[in-house]
Amino acid sequence: MREKAVYVLGLLAAFVMIFNLNTVFNKLPDEAMQGAVYRIIFIHVPAAIDADIFFTVSLLTAVLFLVTRKFIWDSVTVSCIEVGTMLVFLNLVTGSIWGRNQWGIWWAWDLRMTSQLMCFLLYLGYLLVRPAIAEPTQKATLSAIVAIFAYADIPLVLMAIRLPNVRTQHPGPVLETGNLAPAFRAPFGIGILALLLMGTALVLVRLHQETTRREIDSLRRELHAA
């Protein structure tokens, strides 16, 4: 059942993504100021939005694990964080490519870029510390706590980088002002959906791996105990 869901989601994600890429590359006109390179926002921004969704889910499941002590929630947390971290990385790389093209530099310590990089480093810490803990209950509990600590830092990072004297270079929030051209809105929304579907399929795959790994682990323990 789960395998089928993975295949269906994966295929759906691939279909939606190809459909969207076709619209973006073949149907939309070049942007007046930037030319062709603006198309990167249809991957760049959806990756950031979807990463936030996965991180938020990971926070909820980390709390759920601490409350219920059911290992499934730990598996969901680690899967979501892995996928979220990958999406943040995608966001950073695509942004960097766009920056090189438009600003002539790969990186600027702009507030949004800094916050995304911090977010990436925070969750990288989670992914690094997890394998270092051997005992399963301890691993799940401690990594849930790290996940909660990491999420609590995000609003503070956002506040810190808005302090005075911080440089800004990132384009203004087009979405909040509603300045996104009507023709761009649909591909933008579909872009979010495509990465969300793909991410969910990956989370399901990782979830399966985690459950299997846990089973193998407990079998091995039983064997050693016998």
């Binding site: 601490l66 911090m118 480093l121 925070l122 990288l124 810490g125 690094l128 510390v129 270092a132 803990i133 051997a134 005992e135 209950t137 301890q138 509990t141 401690l142 849930a144 706590i145 790290v146 909660i148 600590f149 990491a150 609590a152 830092d153 503070l156 990072v157 506040m159 810190a160 980088i161 302090l163 005075p164 004297n165």
Partner: protein
Amino acid sequence: MQGLRSAFAIAKKDLQTELRTKESINAAASFALVILVLFSFAFDLGREELYAISGGLLWLVYSFAGALIVNRGFARELPNDCLEVLMSSPAPAWSIFLGKSVAAFFLLLIVELISLPVFGLFYNIRWLQNFGSLAMVILLATWGITVVGTSFSAVTVNVRLRELMLPVLLYPILIPLLIGAMGTTTALLGGESLGGDNIASLRLLIGFDAIYTALALYLIDFVLIV
């Protein structure tokens, strides 16, 4: 009330042990001095530029020394299974944590008070001119470093490669705190008074301390039970 009394007893015990053996305080203070010397070779700066980076320099030194101090917090209890004894004592988990944080706070403060005059001396920076405000920033940020550091010291105490994992987790979380502390310290050392733009940084420091103290006191129950 009983919890606070236990916290006080644990803080006292930790400070007493540390002041008798001086194992981490000596290491942290010498490390801070070495870093200060190294920075003088790393940058060849004029007076103006030196003031512009002074806050950053000082807080890098303090956060490096802080990681050394908090690392010992729970690791000190590992020999002779003292940690198990502490956990099975009537003292609640939060009071053990609070006691250890307070001890680490004072230890780091000692290291900071030793290295601050040396910093002023080496770099010709007049740190006494705004000392009241500077002391407030130092107290707030030091508490932030020690409270987060001690939580992660508890998280990583039984983890493989503990000494490596602690900084990987600690520094990304500390970034907002360090941004705030560095900015305000630079302004104060440059002769500005605590007002206007610096109030936002101060608010950030207070917010960071409040959020992580509350989160750590609540979550430590889960950390110390496993």
